[in-house]
Amino acid sequence: MNFLKSLAIALCLFSGAIEAQSVDATRQVVKIALAQEPPQLNSMKATDQVSIFVLGHVMEGLTRYDRRGNLAPGVAERWTLSATSAKFWLRKDAKWSNGDPVTAHDFVFAWRNAVDPKTASEYAFILYPVKNAEAINQGNLPITDLGIRALDDHTLEVTLERPTGYFMKLTAFVTTFPVQERFYRSVEASYAADASQMLYNGAFKITDWVHSASLKMQKNETYWNRQTIRLNGIDADYITADTRARLNLFIDDEIAYTQLDGETYKDALKNQFRIRPFATGSVYFLEYNYRPERITSNLKLRQAIQAAFDPDEFVNKVLQTPGNLPGASLFPSWIKGVNKTFREEYPAKVLRPDLAHAKRLLAEAKAELGVEQIPPLVLLVSDSPTATKQAEYTQGMLKTKLNLDIKIDVQTFKQRLAKMTEGDFDIVGAGWGPDFDDIMTFGDLFASWNLNNRGRYNNPEYDRLVRIAMNSSDPTTRMEAMAGIQTLVYDDAIILPMYEQGVIYIQHPKIKGLRRTVIGSDPDFTHARIVP
């Protein structure tokens, strides 16, 4: 007993001595956990939140978002924008982490590569406002025809395909980040596969990357604006999607920031942490596979599922965290319309479950398909605990209400994306976060040419409405077209909107200036600091 006691005391003393510190005010280092290994750090090809989070800290585009969330000069010192072209003057002190200057040629190389069909970037479409981008991406023109030109090392000229009101917002997006051609050619296929296989021009650089285990970022001493960066390091010592594990790390003061979910918030409450809400601006939905051999290409079946689903019950009983809004539309409620928000001006049809109607639709679907019983549908989801719980709810709900059999295919995030791209699913639990601050970031998602339209939805009417909105700079015309899309999403049951994501999170009280943002790299530690 005495031995045990003294052992316990010794252990206490010991743990006191090496006390875990998630924030270090003297060294200005913050420790965090990443939800997963960044799947793609090649800025021309990255699509997911974690990769964009890392890239947003280690790279910089022509412009960037400042600590208030406004567009601010990045590599470009100043610019002029006309209806058909844009001209950027690059700052001379912008440097790569190897000391080379960031030049206009680096942007030309990156942009050409991003739209090159050989690169097969899923975000190529985001550059479609640039002249000839679409034709190049479809393989009809050589990449040298892209409307971007380096007038000299520090002057860049972009010719636009058509007047694009949101073009400047694109220049802060990850796909438009520069890449040095010489370095890229020297590593070629292994570019961005490791910390040493990348060049950095952002506020931080990756110094240590142990795959699937940890990723350390340090202040980039060659960054032009390094004086304003207070943090010396961001250490992602843990990579785990398990919110429970992350909360425990937070309680142990191993990490300084974590998001909570329905299962973990109660423990956070018990610990008297100050819980902060944040609307991520993302919309989560079930996306169907429209490839002709898939049974989900049947409209009546999709409408039956739509009529059976109760977004209100889903948000309040299954998600259980505050801040989520019941899904109603492809467009989240924060998207700006002409004067007010889009959803205030063009209210979406509220999804209310109607079981009798759903059963009728399902009977019609069976008749159309000529089957007695709908074969089991494969529901593809990520392997996060929240996603599997949502999938199990959907499975149980469709079984009880419509007697539909669902097989849940749980995959890692990377594998889920791969399977989505291959079309190896019937239904997939997907979400979409905004890339730039314009309705088009959601609007063109199911256009036939969009590579993120993994279900291969193809409807000329949808494409027509997107083109109207793309080719016009008149807000009313654009919003009218988008309202048409909103109606189409409901009538054609293109997707099943589940919820607009709101999250709750906790952060170390000593961190100041941590910016939560709907667009781009979130959370943004660039201007964060640690107060003593």
Partner: protein
């Protein structure tokens, strides 16, 4: 002194037969009867045996008695701890209502207020139920919005406000409807006025105890009421003696269904691979020589194969798609990879028994190989075989639990004890019963089989008899 014995005729008569020369004072006992008697003396083993019989009843007969659907989701009773049946108020189906706005009040403050009054007139509209709690308050002068918090314990000033339910962004919004996962317990709602951006340090708190309720359509769906029942009535909610899991599914029904998977793997796999191991080892041991060497080296090779890798390979080779149960490949992997242990054990026994004197004697008296094996060798290895079997059962159950725990086993919604533990461990602190029950069942089963195995070792080993 030579006396001659005179032999008479009578001396050559057969001796009279005596029937009762030897008498069996105790009834004759076969090997099994003896083992059973000695097992009965072992209380631990006997209790374990009863537990195993009980588990068999639980698994096979249980679902006939407790007929609840293990996949049915009772969303009104999510993560319910074990409790007596509850009654609920029948309420109308939810209809989204417009945000209550006081049109006489400006939505935004005219300037930048330095201080705001606390919210007054905070009340609940209608009856607070677990479907909805509708708060209402009077607008605060110069307010640009309100923050609504909900806590399960009384807040002390600005500490412990709890969950941020909503940030309302207009000063003339005078109500909020909370529907977020309400339980029949006491909540403390706190309203803090804001100027549209920042919260002020004044808080008004209201204590609300929502009444357990269920909507008409949900009650109909779960067949709790007839179609002519009306809102306002009291309904008996579905009874969950062991509580429910994170989607309101009945724990007892899930444990019963999970037991099928766990015990199926736990009994069938060892039965098959122990049987195979007995034949393989017996064959190798009896034949001996080069055959024995070759066979046993092959067994050594199989021991070296990694189980998890093979399990995955089988899963792919069988074309088990996503979302389908991995029980069959698990069974096959168990059978194909775990037999060598039994085979080695039996071979050792056979090698030893083969050289015993009584075998020699039987052989000299003309016993053929099949007679020797059936009459002498197998019965003498029986103890070892049965003990291996009882120890193999818990290890197979544990393997299944582990594989389902890492997601290689059953596909949802089918539960197994292992996958239930996997789900339960996530809510271990807030809802311990979700982990406790499946873990308890795994522990009891494994312990019972182990203790029975111990008991059998003692009972079946004939050498132990002399020590008593």
């Amino acid at each position: 002194m030579n006396t001659l014995r005179t032999l008479t005729e009578a001396d050559f008569q057969p001796a009279p037969s005596q029937d009762n020369l030897e008498q069996i004072s105790r009834p004759s006992l076969s090997y099994w009867q003896d083992a059973w008697i000695r097992l009965k003396k072992n209380t631990r083993a006997l209790i374990s045996l009863y537990l195993i019989v009980g588990l068999a009843f639980f698994t096979l007969i249980g679902p006939w008695i407790w007929t609840k659907d293990p996949a049915a989701q009772d969303l009104d009773q999510i993560s319910q701890a074990p409790a007596l049946p509850k009654t609920a108020l029948l309420v109308k189906d939810f209809e989204p209502s417009a945000t209550p706005i006081d049109t006489t009040h400006p939505p935004a403050p005219s300037g930048y207020p330095d201080a705001l009054d606390a919210v007054t007139g905070l009340t609940v509209l209608g009856t607070p139920t677990t479907q909805s709690v509708r708060l209402s308050w009077s607008p605060v002068d110069q307010a640009g919005g309100y923050s609504v918090y909900r806590s399960e314990s009384a807040p002390e000033g600005l500490m412990g406000l709890g969950l941020p339910l909503a940030s309302l962004t207009a000063g003339n919004i005078v109500g909020f409807e909370d529907r977020l996962n309400l339980k029949s317990q006491t909540y403390y709602y706190s309203i803090i006025p804001t100027d549209g951006f920042d919260e002020f340090d004044v808080v008004s708190t209201l204590e609300v105890s929502p009444q357990q309720s269920i909507t008409v359509s949900q009650a109909l769906e779960r067949q709790l009421i007839d179609s002519d029942d009306r809102p306002g009535q009291t309904v008996q909610l579905a009874f969950h003696p062991l509580g429910t899991d994170y989607l309101g599914r009945d724990m007892l029904a899930r444990l019963m269904q999970g037991a099928r998977v766990s015990l199926f793997i736990g009994v069938v796999a060892p039965l098959i691979y122990v049987l195979f191991g007995v034949f393989y080892g017996g064959f190798a041991g009896y034949l001996g020589g080069t055959t024995d060497q070759v066979l046993m080296r092959f067994a050594d090779f199989v021991v070296a194969l990694p189980f998890l890798l093979f399990m995955i390979l089988f899963k792919i080779a069988f074309g088990i798609g996503p979302g389908e149960s991995g029980i069959l490949p698990m069974l096959i992997a168990l059978i194909l990879l775990l037999w060598p242990a039994t085979a080695r054990l039996v071979r050792g026994q056979v090698l030893r028994i083969r050289e015993q004197g009584y075998i020699e004697a039987a052989r000299l008296l003309g016993g053929g190989p099949s007679y020797l094996i059936a009459r002498h060798i197998i019965p003498n290895t029986m103890g070892v075989i049965l003990v291996t079997l009882t120890f193999a059962v818990p290890s197979a159950i544990f393997t299944e639990a582990f594989l389902s725990f890492i997601g290689m086993g059953v596909a949802p919604p089918t539960p197994s004890w292992g996958s239930m533990c996997n789900e339960g461990v996530k809510t271990m602190l807030s809802h311990p019963h979700e982990l406790f029950f499946p873990a308890l069942f795994i522990s009891i089963t494994v312990l019972a089989f182990n203790l029975l195995g111990d008991g059998l070792t003692e009972a079946l080993d004939s050498k132990m008899r002399s020590k008593e």
